[in-house]
């Protein structure tokens, strides 16, 4: 069997599926799921793995999408990926004390499908490919809801097998991008851009049009350059601007200035197609010396991959 034809359903069996999980917290269910995996693989120390889950609590649980939680742990010496699934009709709370945008967005929606992944520590690709396949299944309409209503692990497994979803040949940009991020509209004003910079704490914001197509980027550097262009910074004696006179002009006009004022067009920034291999994304970042890359489908902005996303997903997957 080649890598290209690894079905997602082949990574686990009905014996690693827990239907109607009891309890209200994902961590409790994770312990049971670890036991299910250990039951068919004696090399796995269930207690040690559970401790790893608790130790990685802050970055070990990911909300794939509303209603789907993924618990993942990297284990040294593990040969191949191990998976277990649990369903919960009522839903289970995932890490209420975590502060991340994913939780903030979806924290109020409990997880009906919990996936446990034990991945080899030195093989980030296997986890990411499995996540990509899982994402493809979970995005199908009502799929997660229908799974959560099934009482029989055999039925759950067959439902997943019937989708025919296989692990992708390689990890693509779409698999590691963030699809939930701050953005501006091309009709927004400078006022909105400055507010968003301050609120989100990012240093670049994409600008899209009414169709969601990427139009350009605004950055904090361009904002400063708007107020302090190069020809002003040549002066050694800055006494004419000690009281931020150039900034005052911007503040007077920010309500009327369009965001286009500081926008640079998208062709000056690094963009990749969503099907671009993730390793290519890393190369683009290094070659273009940028800290984030925009992921597009044709011209439509689909997501963002920052260096931090890359490090988190590839090195700490």
């Amino acid at each position: 069997m080649t890598d290209q034809s690894i079905a997602l359903s082949s990574l686990f069996s009905p014996a690693q599926i827990l239907c109607g999980a009891q309890g209200s917290r994902v961590e409790e269910t994770a312990r049971q799921m670890i036991e299910l995996i250990a039951g068919s693989d004696s090399s796995i120390d269930s207690e040690a793995v559970y401790q790893l889950v608790l130790a990685r609590k802050r970055c070990g649980v990911m909300l794939l999408q509303p209603g789907v939680a993924v618990v993942h742990v990297r284990i040294n010496g593990l040969q191949g990926l191990r998976m277990a699934l649990a369903t919960s009709r009522e839903g289970q709370v995932c890490c209420p004390d975590r502060e991340d945008y994913l939780y903030a967005e979806t924290g109020s929606v409990p997880a009906n499908l919990i996936v446990l992944m034990l991945a080899p520590a030195d093989d980030p690709a296997s986890y990411l490919r499995a996540i990509a396949a899982l994402t493809a299944i979970c995005r199908r309409e009502n799929f997660v809801e229908s799974l959560s209503t099934l009482d029989n692990p055999e039925l759950v497994w067959k439902s997943i097998e019937a989708t025919g979803v296989a692990l992708p040949e390689y990890v693509a940009a779409r698999d590691i991008m963030r699809s939930d991020f701050a953005r501006l509209r091309d009709t927004d004003g400078l006022y909105a851009a400055i507010d968003l910079f301050c609120r989100e704490g990012v240093n670049e914001l994409p600008v899209v049009d009414a169709d969601g197509d990427l139009v350009g980027i605004v950055s904090e550097e361009e904002l400063i350059r708007l107020c302090l262009p190069e020809y002003i910074t040549w002066m050694e004696d800055l006494s004419p601007i000690l009281n931020f006179e150039p900034f005052a002009e911007i503040l007077r006009r920010e309500a009327h200035m369009p965001v286009m004022e500081i926008m640079v067009f998208a062709d000056r920034y690094a963009t990749v197609d969503e099907a671009t291999p993730a390793i290519q994304v890393a190369k683009v970042m290094m070659r273009r010396d940028v800290r984030q890359v925009l992921v597009v489908r044709d011209k439509k902005l689909m997501g963002i991959i920052s260096i931090q996303d890359f490090i988190q997903k590839v090195l700490r997957a």
Binding site: L228, Y231, I232, W234, I241, E249
Partner: protein
């Protein structure tokens, strides 16, 4: 003030390949000069080593100084150059002149002089695309004539980038216009280009000679060059006009402006240019050697700047003086002496007159074309340093103010427009463009318009020399 260069690290293979190509070319040329032209061994070595140094600026921009350092001992050890000849040709006075001007430029920048000029341009009422192009072209040319081409393009490029970023238009056409105007303008005075001061130094020309014979020709050439470029880029200029009008409709400026205390900078530049302009009168009055005051004027101005702004004095010397380039010029000028020492230049001059006769009316266009083509592919300072002894032979005892000197000047300056590597201003502008926009100008995109611009400017200059040449010769005799 930094000039252009490449930061790319060359792989070992590329390095070896280029070095091999360099060695092959200079060997082939050396053999041709020996077996075909009949030059002796010393002359062959002289040509080969000098060619290596010139070509190193094409193949090994970052190593050009190292190659110049290595070239000198080869010439000395093979008897193709003597130390006294090297010292005589180094043109230390030119180097000192350039040092002084670089310090003055640093002072002007600190004082906000260039900021004031840029803001003045941006604040012009009812600015349109054609008006912007005219103003920036004239400003580029005049500032190149007043300070130097590199400084001119540094601050004019900043203006172009600012306006184009604000209006969201492609900056390349407007940058090319400024660069070409800069190159044309640099022929107007001795200050504009090291070529000018070098020719002035060797030919014994004064600032007044430049103002009389060169500046008007520069203005005429500038007019035709700008006219050509405005037609060439009419679409982009129209787009710029439209965007400017839209912006005016929203009552938005082209950029922030601040109150700049410009008078100090204005005093400095006027004082420096004034002293340079009057150097000949002062020299006559004090019975000094020709151009003594000329070379010292920038140093006087620099000294005043360094006392006035003493907290920045070290910065001006360490950061604003382009030592790398100056040392290269020093070596280049000195090593170019080998061509004269071994009488290669005499042979070249003799071959030219044998081929074309000694009629000025024929030699002028020939010298102009040769220097234009040479400058198009090699930095114009380098080419002129090599060709000056040839022109000296051709001019002979005919007098200081001779059409051939101006032909060399115009050919070298205007020829710098033909290709994107033709002058330092071009390279600096391209470096800035690449750094800011991560984009490059295609060689052909530049070459097409550059060839046209170089041709029209050169043609006008040639016509001007046809008319003024007899007056120059009459004045000299």
């Amino acid at each position: 003030m930094k000039t252009g260069g490449t930061d790319a690290v060359m792989s070992g293979r590329v390095l070896l390949a280029r070095f091999a190509l360099l060695a092959v070319i200079s060997t082939v040329v050396g053999l041709l000069t020996h077996f075909v032209w009949g030059l002796n061994h010393q002359q062959t070595i002289s040509v080969s080593v000098f060619l290596i140094i010139i070509l190193s600026t094409l193949f090994f921009w970052d190593f050009r100084l190292a190659i110049a350092f290595l070239g000198l001992p080869v010439l000395l050890l093979t008897g193709a150059l003597e130390m006294e000849c090297f010292k005589e040709h180094c043109s230390l006075e030119v180097i000192l002149f350039l040092i002084g001007m670089m310090v003055v430029v640093g002072g002007l920048r600190d004082l906000g002089f260039f900021t004031w000029i840029i803001q003045g341009i941006m604040n012009i009422k009812s600015m349109t695309g054609p008006r912007f192009v005219l103003v920036t072209a004239v400003a580029s040319a005049l500032s190149a004539a007043a300070v130097d081409e590199v400084t001119s393009i540094l601050f004019m490029a900043a203006l172009v980038f600012q306006v184009c970023d604000v209006l969201k238009v492609r900056p390349i056409p407007f940058l090319i216009i400024c660069v070409m105007a800069t190159n044309v303008g640099s022929a107007g005075t001795m200050l504009g280009n090291p070529v000018g001061i070098l020719i002035g130094s060797r030919a014994g020309l004064t600032f007044e000679d430049f103002m009389l014979w060169s500046f008007p020709v520069m203005l005429l050439s500038l007019i035709v060059t700008v006219a050509l470029l405005m037609v060439w880029y009419r679409k982009e200029i129209r787009q710029l006009s439209d965007r400017m009008e839209q912006r005016r409709g929203h009552a938005l400026p082209l950029g922030p402006t601040v109150a700049v205390p410009f008078k100090r900078g204005l005093l400095l530049i006027c004082g420096t240019i004034g002293l340079v302009a009057l150097h000949h009168r002062i020299e006559l009055w004090l019975d000094l050697e020709t151009n003594t005051v000329l070379y010292m004027a920038p140093l006087v101005a620099a000294g005043i700047v360094m006392i006035w702004r003493r907290e920045r004095a070290r910065h001006y010397i360490e950061q604003d003086v382009e030592w790398w380039t100056l040392i290269f010029f020093l070596m280049l000028f000195g090593v170019a002496g080998t061509l004269q020492y071994t009488e290669v230049t005499t042979e070249i001059a003799f071959s030219l007159t044998r081929l074309l006769g000694d009629q000025t009316s024929i030699l002028v266009p020939v010298v102009m074309v040769i220097s234009a083509i040479g400058s198009a592919f090699i930095d114009n300072v380098i080419f002129v340093a090599a060709f000056i002894p040839v022109v000296q032979e051709l001019v002979g005892e005919a007098g200081t103010v001779h059409p051939l000197w101006w032909a060399l000047l115009f050919g070298a300056c205007f020829g710098g427009n033909i290709t994107m590597i033709g002058s330092t201003a071009n390279i600096v502008a391209l470096g800035m463009l690449e750094k800011r926009y991560r984009t490059r100008i295609h060689f052909l995109e530049w070459f097409r318009v550059g060839l046209a611009a170089g041709f029209v400017a050169g043609f006008v200059a040639w016509l001007a020399l046809l008319v003024t040449g007899p007056f120059m010769l009459a004045g000299s005799s």
